[in-house]
Symmetry: C2
Subunit: 435 residues, 2 copies
């Protein structure tokens, strides 16, 4: 039984998928059952890395979706539109969809899921998060027996590359970014990566699967690495920490309530203790740590981007659809694990009620007693301190770094306001979360 595949897009990922389908030898035998039937491209004349029959190429993507020989629609064109419309069109035609488009899923996931459920088709998204790392399937199919507490991860390769080099070389953010752009590790417009938006898209998707309900993407507090100073990376290292752009989704209330569960979801540069499992993830690699009861901590690590890894994830989804076709006939039901419908409401918690550890760098006058007064400001507001260290002082100015224990965000902000009001304190030079 041959299964017809239609590709929307033949860029990096699309070419990678086409290359796998064109050389099934040595892969799972089910790959040989897949046949590329039609490919939507912008410019059919453009030279391609993969050798395709020109008759497969069309410029109208709707023609791929509508082709009766296309059984599975693979959307690897990126962007919000026309990707969203084409995905919905495929679903309406009763065709399962595989997509690598995290932006569309993070924003229109609910609409797409509702349409898919109504039509009884799968929309699979392994490639949308973590590149080649199998993380979506394990979340859906291997961890269902658990109560998930937290999902955290390094899920943007560009920023992890930049942070790795900042830590190794003590280099400034802007310099490493420019170099990363030159080397092709960062886009000409790096905003989605360095400002954290891409990671926020991905943690919204992961949290939705891990916790069983759609996560409001727009409400995720997001801070990138674009204002991070080399100095803080250096101080963090001296205190035994590594700075990573972490995306975290954590359950706040312990028991399910009628109104569902509350999550603290966020993206920000974070100090990780050097022995934390995510601290050793360098370069463009990604890693996702899932914590739950009774499994404990499990981590998934690998290449977070690139044609090959992402194509591996896309083909995994195609294979899953092809495999499950052999189970039921024409009127088969959906596997609830693979379909991953939402099963409880999820809302974002009030960020001021959440608790975190913090790293603060203060610029102060270089005077005796400053550390004591800062310590008192924290202490009287119930903010417990793990360490307070004075770093190099120059011309009457000193830098004091405080790492707090886990404290409620509102108490921490109160203390910080009081510290800013101290005469000796010139400014809060940096403020980062700490695990």
């Amino acid at each position: 039984m041959t299964i017809g595949v239609g590709l929307l897009g033949l860029g990096t990922v699309g070419s990678g998928v086409a290359a796998i389908l064109a050389s099934p030898q040595g892969r799972h035998p089910l790959v040989a059952a897949l046949a590329l039937r039609r490919v939507a491209v912008r410019d059919p004349a453009r030279p391609r890395s993969v050798d395709l029959d020109p008759a497969l190429l069309v410029t109208d993507p709707a023609a791929v979706v509508d082709d009766p020989d296309v059984d599975i629609v693979v959307e690897v064109m990126g962007g919000l539109e026309p990707a969203r419309t084409l995905i919905l069109r495929a679903i309406a035609a009763g065709k399962p969809v595989v997509t690598a488009n995290k932006a569309v899923i993070a924003r229109y996931g609910e609409e797409i899921a509702a349409a898919a459920e109504k039509q009884g088709v799968y929309v699979l998204i392994e490639a949308a998060v973590g590149g080649g790392i199998p993380i979506i399937e394990p979340l859906k199919q291997s961890l269902g027996g658990n109560r998930i507490h937290r999902v955290s991860g390094i899920i943007n390769g560009t920023t992890n590359y930049i942070l790795s080099r900042m830590a190794e070389e003590g280099a400034a953010y802007g310099d490493v970014l420019a170099d990363a752009q030159r080397l092709g590790y960062a886009e000409a417009d790096p905003a989605a990566d360095v400002q954290g938006g891409d990671a926020a898209d991905k943690i919204a998707i992961l949290a939705g699967l891990a916790f069983g309900g759609p996560v409001p993407r727009a409400g995720i507090p997001t801070e990138g690495i674009d204002r991070l100073k080399a100095r803080d990376v250096t101080y963090a290292a001296q205190l035994g920490f590594v700075v990573k752009l972490l995306a975290v989704a954590e359950r706040i209330n312990e028991h399910d309530q009628a109104e569902g569960i509350q999550l603290d979801v966020r993206v920000h540069p974070t100090l990780l203790p050097k022995h934390h499992p995510l601290a050793g993830v360098h370069g463009v690699n990604n890693a996702i740590l899932v914590e739950g009861e009774p499994v404990g901590q499990v981590m998934f690590f690998g290449p977070g981007a690139g044609a090959g890894p992402t194509a591996s994830a896309v083909v995994a989804d195609i294979l899953n659809i092809a495999g499950i076709r052999q189970v039921g006939g024409a009127d088969a039901g959906l596997d609830p694990l693979l379909a991953a419908s939402s099963w409880r409401p999820v809302s974002l918690a009030d960020a001021s009620l959440a608790s975190h550890r913090n790293y603060v760098r203060l610029q102060t006058r270089d005077e005796a007693g400053v550390i004591g007064r800062i310590g008192t400001c924290f202490g009287t507001r119930g903010v417990s301190i793990q360490s307070i260290v004075q770093f190099e002082a120059t011309e009457g100015s000193a830098e004091i770094v405080v790492i707090t224990h886990q404290v409620r965000e509102s108490s921490f902000r109160d203390a910080l306001a009081a510290i800013t009001a101290l005469e000796e304190v010139q400014r809060v030079a940096a403020c980062l979360r700490t695990l």
Copy 2:
């Protein structure tokens, strides 16, 4: 639709499974569709950590398999018999099986798979390797588009705990083992763990899935950590390596041949460069690294044993069976990915033809020129050396450590024979593989 579960065994893992089924709140809703129907125990009067209706307990395991209310048979009793017979009995009755029993699968996997294929039922084994780490499912369902080159892993928690403590404390193997036994991290009879047999069982299973055909378990060269000296762990650290008990399955011939593919499969203490992804895996944790084209390297990390993690994996398998039941009716086919039938012949390569890097510690007379003569012995046999270092010498005796580049095993053995024949060389004190 309720799905009846029958448990064979109510030890650590069985109790963990029963605990999950007894408290479905907050887990995937499909858990609530599972009902524990019958449990085989040796002594029904024994007190249990989990609160079960005594009416569920039976002492005859066949009564669990035969119970018409039991839809899925979960074998968590361990041991070869009667586990094997009960698994085959369940299959013969057309009931899918979930098992955590790596020993049975590594030895009787072919027999069991053939019976399962004939009856059209699943035998799922996520819990057999890597405890709570999702690794079986990803290998079967997420990496099928790849040509796998190598699967390597730290897949025995007991030995990794011992090696971690030897490295941290410079302690002797025997002392740490005794302590591990006292703390419950090692069995009273530690042979299966420390001699590598458990890891060999597991790599046979992983390789079978990754490469698509059954691996002859009995042919796997296996070396444990029971003869490892603290001194070699220390020297390795000084040279920038960490010693781990690694299980490796690697493809030797690049192209598929009529007689199938050849694998180099082995278990032995191995020096890993400090920055290798597996080098940072400490304590009772496990990690499996999968390398393939086009995915590159992906790694799966987590708790390799324990009631909770292993129960998480068992329940994952039960859920997968329950989920796929909703797809097809009574006469549904098997999902070829989940069923994971073998699809090509696999054989073990002649070990002497394989190539490896090596670590050798030689005890020699403390004389000028020894290093040169050892170097020459390697050089004339085409064994390229990465480093040769003399460590502490006492009373006319010196210790020389050689790390070779990748060389064919037969050439290395030839050189070693010539070196042993040198007058100045007293003995080959240690010989370990190096990645």
